[in-house]
Symmetry: D2
Subunit: 272 residues, 4 copies
Amino acid sequence: MTDALLDAVSAGVRIFDLGRPFFAGMPQSPNHPKYTHTLPRRHGDMVRPDGGSAANDLLVMGTHVGTHIDALAHVSQDGLLHGGANAGDACIGGGYPTHGVHTISPIVRRGVVLDIPRAIDIEVCEPAYQVTTADLDAAVARQGARIDAGDVVLIRTGWGRRFADGAEAYLGTSTGVPGISEAGANWLADREVIAAGADTIAFEWLPAGSGHSVLPAHRVLLVEHGIYIIEALDLEELADAGVHEFTFILVPLNLQGATGSPVRPLAVVPDA
Amino acid sequence: MTDALLDAVSAGVRIFDLGRPFFAGMPQSPNHPKYTHTLPRRHGDMVRPDGGSAANDLLVMGTHVGTHIDALAHVSQDGLLHGGANAGDACIGGGYPTHGVHTISPIVRRGVVLDIPRAIDIEVCEPAYQVTTADLDAAVARQGARIDAGDVVLIRTGWGRRFADGAEAYLGTSTGVPGISEAGANWLADREVIAAGADTIAFEWLPAGSGHSVLPAHRVLLVEHGIYIIEALDLEELADAGVHEFTFILVPLNLQGATGSPVRPLAVVPDA
Amino acid sequence: MTDALLDAVSAGVRIFDLGRPFFAGMPQSPNHPKYTHTLPRRHGDMVRPDGGSAANDLLVMGTHVGTHIDALAHVSQDGLLHGGANAGDACIGGGYPTHGVHTISPIVRRGVVLDIPRAIDIEVCEPAYQVTTADLDAAVARQGARIDAGDVVLIRTGWGRRFADGAEAYLGTSTGVPGISEAGANWLADREVIAAGADTIAFEWLPAGSGHSVLPAHRVLLVEHGIYIIEALDLEELADAGVHEFTFILVPLNLQGATGSPVRPLAVVPDA
Amino acid sequence: MTDALLDAVSAGVRIFDLGRPFFAGMPQSPNHPKYTHTLPRRHGDMVRPDGGSAANDLLVMGTHVGTHIDALAHVSQDGLLHGGANAGDACIGGGYPTHGVHTISPIVRRGVVLDIPRAIDIEVCEPAYQVTTADLDAAVARQGARIDAGDVVLIRTGWGRRFADGAEAYLGTSTGVPGISEAGANWLADREVIAAGADTIAFEWLPAGSGHSVLPAHRVLLVEHGIYIIEALDLEELADAGVHEFTFILVPLNLQGATGSPVRPLAVVPDA
């Protein structure tokens, strides 16, 4: 039996890692439990008679930290989740059985990145820059991109370059953060993508000093259209390579009832 | 530019989810911190003036719980990790910088499952059944399988059917658990696979009542050969479909310095 | 200024530690998050230029594990907390502001232990032995005890001797556990004690194999009478010394909004 | 049998709570795992057939957060703990069996607060003010204080008033924090106190912008003299009441092998 997929993989692929490393002190939203990793057992703590020893880990973390995906259970508007379910009643026994991250199927699909700075001929988007539908149209035109229903679309603002500068720079609380306008979110919804992502900590346009007080893109995508959101992506290597279209792979952990999951998404293309 | 990989994906794929669900009370080794998921914030706890509300999660867990991958940092023998590094010195600042799970590249490769019960014409392997090299050879012969260097090989014993019966049944402390012999581990190492997995909680043959006191397959694979181990896989749907060869996808979380990671591996084949 | 309290302390006191040690694997109810202690930093992980180094801890735990006190927020009946508050509405922003453990004032008061086995001339109460009002009356008579409103009363069954035998013995799921009857709980409430405790994991009579399905003493004390419950006390040293009346000290951690707190209560008497 | 202690307690006592409340977002050192409290189960999540329901908690926290006590295991100098033990070897199986916080006996002793601002006729100590031995002598003289071997001595700087202003104000990273000089620490050690505390987050003099890079008082007290340190005390009510001498009660949680414990210390005096 021929397997075109396996043949393509076996022919050689280049894998772009779109996830950020997880480490203590990494930039993350202060709204979520801090990422903590410790070693309850290190080598030597307990050695078996045969000379073997095992080290292990304890993780404590929110699910909306590091690169992660938001499930539909994450956000409600006027007391309702996507599809009109009562947000209070949707929580059963300490989890969200019908809107949790376990309901997101593993994603192996066509992915497209819209490179906004390149489209409008700047290096990176300024802090608090609002990505408009005109910008999105410009990126599509410049790239000759095609967006199909069911695709995953990633928005590059260039903000990801600040990840290495630490939490203050990347969170941008005082400066604001570039992001998509409400109209931009609707532009994506009109194209029936199944998930949208960005290289910022919140998939939103954040004016300087405003914090996360209003989150229209979350409302439009998660609540109104049932489109998943992926945050804190690393899109720099992809941009540097000029790759705009790829096989996108994202497998959320199967966390029953949770509102999100840490992830490590991949963009995969044939190795030239 | 043509993209054979994306063409294959776009033509339609069937995705087998090889990961187990994560939930409180799921079967897991008592040696590792228990999986705990809670909602610090539920909808309604804090509603923004515009009517929006967010729920979020706190996870507490070991990394060797649920379906997971073992990094080389997990096991040492006689004080040494794979490659001869001193296991005590390899821990720097509370993590394993050179042997941690962050050093495992995302895996998108050829995968093969060896279906032991089918090869030896039984329904499922008995508790404490030892999978021998003869069994492995039998599975290869029956399936007409090919194992290449760099492949991922998964061993199905059928024990995974017990996952639904709860922790006592799946852990099999009193009954023992089927698994590969030390010779079987060497058989895999001889074939230069990059990772090996099974449908049991430990990639080991466990006699009744013995616990995890001696773990030769871990030593052979992790320490002696630098081969990653994947545990608690769900291989039943794959077996039922008679799929033995596939594109195997496993993306560990990028946990800096950790000894393992929870995962949700996939087997992907063209949709017939 | 004279200080009779300080004079008494300075004259010498004997302190009975009524708390159990907290350690990984200690007996605790499976209904609550497991006690976990790890060292994120050990000495040597990070040494300052001046040669100093600090080690620190990460604790993960429920509050109803080890020796602990139950706040009024812990239990509701028919949707109501003590005083008639709606149990759902009483939770604000992820905590219980008016019924939480932070509302328990530090306790420095008269304490009385009722030694049931001694009162009825047995060594220790049998598994599943029900402590009746007759037993309580017998203990009062035998000890010549006086119980005043505002006192703390501790019930010794002798079950605490099993703590050292591990979780299975101390939890007594298969055997049942001795404890106070519903009538016994009312007997305590009639005496207007402010808190009641015992040397078992639940302040309840537990028949063999019944688990924690019905908890009448919790309802009577916490919900109907606003009396705090202290569980998993170590009363053995106190009993061996024949001390029945003492200054009882219990200081819950000031955990805002929590339903309980781990504690280490003391019984203090002048040093003879 | 007469019990002078219980008589004094029964005659009425005033209890000063010297502990700070524990809540998410409270001021704490960034060096330690953040205090997190969530409710895995809330009322209504699971109601028993008889109408009863229980809510419970999950705590995640360091032990050196909020008001807490440092055990001897916390700090080493040149690789050695108090008494000369090798700091690396002192860690056995992930804990400190001979230097951990479980080795601190519950404290019911004479306590003395030295009110530095009052002694030197200022309102509160300035940021980065160094408390000298002259200041300590001045406080003793002004208060007519007596310090006996075995006492607990608390140093009030007035900095505690900033606790309510939040983490930035209380941590004082940019401003510096008032605290005892190395000579001051030796002054306390000369008096053979068993524990010393203060109303700041670190029992140290911290110049502006210096962080916790050098901690001489910790070295003098913990390593050289085996004197416990208590941090983040609330001494304001005590100062307002003009109470300088009292029965000091501090009961660390019995955390086997840990380097510290959250606490809620009390100062108790007869009710005038």
